[in-house]
């Protein structure tokens, strides 16, 4: 089976044991996943990774940086790849720490095939969802950026549910002008209703002034 040149997803495996690395690769490939192997965290960071839904199978016991510290490092660097930890002898505090930091699963070796495949699938799904959500925000951000300064000023009041008259009073312009701004910004943002606009404003994290 040929690996697609432009994969729909990719599973990264970091383990210092070449044999285990290859075995995991073989197993994951056998169900049609694209796999990339690394023998250290440093190697992973140096690599150019495809911008597709992905997840990371990470051995807790890594030479140099430990798996858990590596996880912290990734979060700090804004790398949002879901992590599945594998370990020879995991203990509870270790797994709790990993899960709190957002790990998908904490599996002990030898791995149960199904546990691993389920975890990998979950990781990919979560990454896919995150990517889509990220995409939406980016789109909204560019729409918001296309608003004029006055429209950006008005949008917060509109989203707060204020009437045109009130907004006019607040910022010292005529009610007619407010009405024009409102129409423009609804159009530019692609909001079908006021409720739609409120959701967009919240997604973007724009402040909604309350009277």
């Amino acid at each position: 089976m040929k690996v697609p040149a432009d994969p729909q997803n990719v599973v990264f495996v970091i383990d210092d044991d070449a044999s285990l690395r290859e075995s995991l690769s073989s197993l994951l490939r056998s169900i049609g996943l694209h796999v990339e192997l690394f023998d250290s965290a440093a190697q992973f960071l140096k690599s150019k990774r495809p911008d597709v839904p992905s997840c990371l199978v990470l051995d807790v016991r890594l030479p140099g940086l430990s798996g858990l510290d590596f996880q912290t490092e990734l979060i700090k660097n804004d790398v949002h790849v879901p992590i599945i930890f594998i370990t020879g002898h995991g203990d509870i505090p270790m797994s709790v720490r990993a899960m709190k930091a957002g790990a998908i699963e904490f599996l002990t070796k030898p791995l149960r095939e199904q546990d691993l495949l389920d975890a990998v699938q979950a990781g990919l799904d979560r990454d896919r969802a995150r990517r889509e959500s990220d995409k939406t925000v980016t789109e909204l951000r560019s729409r918001y950026d296309s608003l004029t300064a006055r429209e950006q000023e008005v949008i917060g009041y509109v989203a707060s549910g204020l009437m045109n008259k009130q907004i006019a009073g607040e910022i010292g312009i005529s009610e007619i002008t407010v009405k024009v701004h409102r129409g423009n910004l609804m159009r530019k943002m692609g909001a079908k209703s006021l409720a739609d606009l409120v959701r967009m404003v919240d997604t973007l994290g724009i402040h909604r002034p309350q009277l």
Partner: protein
Amino acid sequence: MPGYARISRSAQLCFVTALWMIGTSGNAVQAQDRVPRVLLLYPYDNTPVASTISGETARKRLTERLNGKVQFNVDFLDLLRFQEETHRQQTARYLAEKYANTPIDIIISLNTETYRFLQSYRDLFAPKVPVVFCCVMRSFIDATPGRPGDITGFITDYDITKTIELAERLQPKARNLVFITGASPIDQMWHQMYRRQSAPFQSRFNVSFLNGLAYNEVLRRVSQLSPDSIVVLGAIFVDGEGRQLVAYEFGAEIAKVSTAPTYAPIDTFLGRGIVGGHMGTFEDAGIEVADLALDVLKGTDPRSIEPHSSQAQRFRVDAKQLARWGMSEAALPPDTLISFKDPTLWEQHRNSVIAALAIMVIEMALIAALLLQIVRRRRLEQDMQVAQSELARVTRVTTMGEMTASIAHEVNQPLAAIVASGNAGLRWLANATPNLEEARSAFTRVVRDGHRAGEVISTVRGMFKKNAQTRRPVDINQLVREVLALLNSQIANNDIVVRSSLAEPAPVVPGDPVQLQQLTLNLITNAIEAMAGVTDRDRVLRISTQAQGSEALLDISDSGYGIEPQHMERIFEAFYTTKTHGMGMGLSICRSIVLAHGGRLSASRGTPHGSIFHVVLATQEQA
């Protein structure tokens, strides 16, 4: 005189003034730039009798009081040996010549005889030189009137009444009173005095006088006295046969042979056999007369001083004689001075006793300090031992844990790879179009990783063999004791009874002490854990050591539920465990250790319960 060159001018002035005053008082002392000269007149010779004691004391006293600024001249008149009047005259003339150019400032007379001599002849050799005297019997003063006014001093009242009073207290049943005196004129004076003073006692006692008898006669008579007699001695300078005697020596002789207690009012007799008496001391008499001489030298007119009684008199007894006659101290008058008491150990060796006590106290203090230190050190040592045992235990357990963790990881990696590869291979084959190439490489990895896991185990075994060169003699009994000490709290917490029977002498094997400790620790820990669930019987841990030929046997048994027969075959295999939380490495390691020492490890079922682990180790180094 170099000594006087050192006197300060003011002191010299004072002294000159004092001498001038003496001069103007009409005495023989002239206001001259010299120290006072004292003439000590001794009645007899230089044998240490009463007068020599008084004289010597007086001389010391004056020297002391005048800071040495006094000069003494001494003359022994020998009046006992030569009693004729011509001797006295010759002596007086001799003295006159002797002191013609050496003026005397004061004369000290030391007893009745010198007093008598001075009364007659003073003006021949020392006219107008004042005389101070001591120890003159009152009876003599009374008997010889015409004392010149510048001859004065102390009269000794020989109050025999008080001496007899003392005797009556000590001998309440006494009926006879015997007085002994000698034949010399002074002895006769004593006899007269006794005769006079004994008059009041005539009614109560048969009074008799042994006066002027021969030496042997006196001794014969006193040796036949009845015990209810009181013997009073007086002066005995010459016996009835004209023999000159030293009074106290004869007194001692009498007291020795007397069959009744003897008494005397004379202190030179005390300590030589008499029980006691009412008496002064000749030392006190010397001091009295010296002080009087000082007064006169300082200008007091001797004519203004009437002779008076010596004050220093009291009851005195000899403790040894009280004991000899079985007399009680309780009967003595209240202020009696008891002499010659056998000094107690304390009195005799006061300083030695104090020193000895001090040394003992110091020694005890040192011993106490040392004991304290020892106790403290022991405690510290114990604490340290506990800490060391704890450390050792932790180290063993940690080493054990780390080792098994490490082994587990090393074995787990290939296992994980085998499982993953196996799963992958199956999936490659299960695909709609089976990928045989991927499947083959997956199964190749399975085989490879299987071998890898086997190598890990060999490595573990090799690890133990590697340490074979660190062998040294290990005392198996000691080993057992150490491990039991390590597991002490665990044994106690689990209510386990330990029954150990250790062979004597202790079997000793060549080995690695750390590994053998690990072995014993593992086996005993296993035994303890095997009894964890036992509630219906005692939890008994039996440990025995034994020497058998060239082998040492160590058996460790428990009273647990034992090992099922089907497990028995496999318990020594690695990763085989019947415990919920076991790694299955313990017994495997144990066997590796035993094998590395060229020994054998086996297990058997115990009767009626539990299991027994048998360790057999060679007591000789294996080739």
